[in-house]
């Protein structure tokens, strides 16, 4: 990929990410036999949010959140420039910590509960991401995304990595059953509850970036076979949407247990699989 193209991909990520989000919503609606919003609904929302009066609760709350968005954007840039997987994971961790601190810095019970839960879910998925990055290293011999994407397809060795990542995707995107940190009906969106207007649009756009972040992990599993990679992403997109529709939320401690038992467990299995069966 040329530098200009990578830059464009990164720069417009918060915009075109909205289309994925729109598709996601339509897909979920269809699964529930609803018609659902138009695909461009996120953009209509965006226009509406831009026109609203700018209310804030306090300055630090907003600043931490803006830097969450910026760091996440930087991470997405790093992905499109073919950066190092580990740096991307830890950059994402830093961004998430900014968001968590933002949630803490406002005197609202739901926001703080959301932050607490988000922190716990980070502890649950962070090790899985690192272990899977190590799996990818074991197969391709590098952490650099640009080199991984040029390597020949070796998906057989990464089957368990793929399965393990399927647990991470809904946790990062806060989708059911792993959505305790957002939990609309229970803690009204958690950290998101205290943002309004254009600032809520940033939180909203950050969701697109989060989607790009997790699905890029799935995409690179197919290395140079981009069609297969796209297929993997579409498949997991469907699977995650289906599971989101058909399962109930689990409590945060069950989330921890489930992720450690299955997600982390599969990561370990994956290392054994790669080392003992594949090379």
């Amino acid at each position: 990929m040329s530098i200009v193209f990578s830059f464009m991909l990164g720069f417009f990520a918060p915009i075109y990410g909205g289309i994925f989000y729109g598709i996601d919503r339509v897909l979920k609606a269809k699964m529930q036999r609803r018609k659902g919003p138009p695909v461009l609904q996120p953009f209509y929302d965006m226009l509406k949010l831009f026109s609203k009066t700018k209310f804030i609760v306090n300055a630090p709350h907003t600043i931490w959140m803006i830097f969450y968005f910026l760091s996440l954007w930087a991470v997405v840039f790093m992905i499109f420039f073919g950066g190092n997987l580990l740096y991307i994971i830890f950059g994402h961790l830093l961004a998430t910590v900014f968001f968590i601190i933002s949630g803490y810095s406002v005197n609202s019970i739901f926001s703080q509960l959301g932050s607490n839960r988000k922190l716990l879910s980070v502890v649950a998925y962070e090790p899985i991401l690192i272990v899977n990055a190590i799996c990818i290293y074991l197969v391709f011999g590098t952490f650099e995304i640009s080199e991984i994407l040029a390597a020949p397809n070796n998906f057989n060795s990464l089957v368990f990595t793929f399965l393990s990542l399927l647990f991470v995707v809904p946790t990062v995107l806060k989708l059911s059953p792993f959505d305790a940190s957002k939990a609309h009906q229970e803690i009204v969106g958690g950290i998101e509850v205290e943002f309004g207007g254009v600032f809520y649009e940033l939180v909203y756009a950050a969701k697109f970036l989060e989607m790009i972040f997790v699905y890029s992990f799935i995409f690179i599993l197919a290395s140079n076979d981009y069609i297969f990679g796209t297929f993997l992403v579409v498949f997991s997109f469907f699977a995650v949407a289906l599971v989101d529709n058909s399962t109930a939320r689990i409590k945060i401690d069950s989330l921890l247990k489930a992720l450690y038992m299955y997600g982390f467990g599969l990561g370990i299995v994956s290392i054994f699989w790669i080392l003992l069966c594949c090379i």
Binding site: P60, A74, F90, L94, Y104, S111, V122, V123, V188
Partner: protein, 524 residues
Amino acid sequence: MVHFLIGFFDFVLLLYFMKVGFDFKNIKIQILALIQLILFAFAELNFTHSGSPDFIIDELAIFMMIIINIVGGAIALYGIKYMLYEDAPKYKKDIFLVYLWIFLVIMNFAVISNNLLYFFFFFELTTLSSFLLIKFRNDDISNKNAINALLLNMIGGLFLLIAVCLNLFTNHSIYINEIIQNKDYISAAMIFVVFAAFIKGAMKPFESWLLGAMVAPTPVSALLHSATMVKIAPFLVLKFSPVFSYEISFLITLLGMFLFFIFALEGLGKNSFKEILAYSTISLLSLMIAVAAIGTKESYEIALLLIFFHAISKAILFMCAGILEKLHHIKSIDDMQGLMSADKPLALLILVSFATVALPPFGLFFAKLFFVEYLAKLIQTDILYIFIILFFVVGSSILVLLYFKIASLLLSTNNHQQTPAKTPLSFVASSYFLFVFMILSIIYLVTTKSDISIFSIIFGALFVSLIVSLFVFKFNNLQKISVYACGENTIGQIGQFYFDFEKYAKYFLYVAIFLWLVLFGVSL
């Protein structure tokens, strides 16, 4: 002449320990002192000079001296200010400060000793400093913990002496440079040196002395029990790691990594700020020992990075804890609520220091990053390292949780309205100095490693602009509203999660002891 003086003072020191044993009517200390006296006499009688020098200033020693003198010096200066707030007679305060400086001298000698007998002397002197400084407040709990620290560290000293005697008994050198050159001969004695290091590094089941040491005035905790003295543990392991056999190296790494995870978990159940810092210290010390024990060139560098940046970060955090204690009268993290509005610079300093321990683009994070990369290479040739990875990644995440759950309390403004207080510059000056020193070191690190440069520039810039924005932007032109909170009128109180460690403590302890025994068995 030097040899005579050191031998003489060592006898005096051991006799003093004996006297302490009598003063406190502690039979264990008396016995330990007696055994040490006998063994020491044996060692002195059998000792002959070989050609090697008694003191060697090598790269590692210089590195340790930089930490000891820069970080230690900053803490000792901070101690002057801290002591103004301490409730004690003037002469005692002066003695306290003198102890701190003398301790720095002792540490400098400890890291350059090449003769194990000399090293033993300085090792015992650090034990003595630890004992005297923990005892400083002279109340019941201080005395009790000081005695405990003395007892456990004397066991460490005993292990060291056993190692010396075994080497002398089997006609082997007790000069460190000769020991590590002789790769064919891996002595069982070495395992005793490692055990001594483990005790100094407060590894399970000997962690109680360091946790008890937190009753001492905060400069002591900062200087001895996190930044410098306990670093002897990874230092010793680093020194001897070239001669470890594969089994010993792997077992030490496994034990260290296991304890890294366990201590992080145990810290989750505590709510005193200093205690949490103590747990994260022993957790990271175990990590350093684990990394140091691998004994390759890469692991050596990673261990150095860990030692260096941990010393600085923990020194800053402990100094902040001291300020909180003296100025804001806060000891428990539950009382920290609302600190952000009461004293913004201090709260931000604590928050950023947490970030320096766990997050990019700071030094400790890079050490961990390099370690993950290195582990990924190691596991290709040796699948057993999967256990190391397991404990490492989980332990690291738990440490993030441990720090940032405190952040929640720092930032929240729920109940406790703190009275605004401004920390005097002279009190935080040392912390700022160390912080600048750390930033400069990170910049140096980034210039030597080109592959992390872009990443650290991006996130460094983000971090700086974040801190600046927090001070500059007030958004006065925007309309402020009170929280929505979904219309809830009740003022909620958010608790924090604690991990009930006690339930499992027993099993973890057994595993740790089991690993010690296996280590001992393998070395024979």
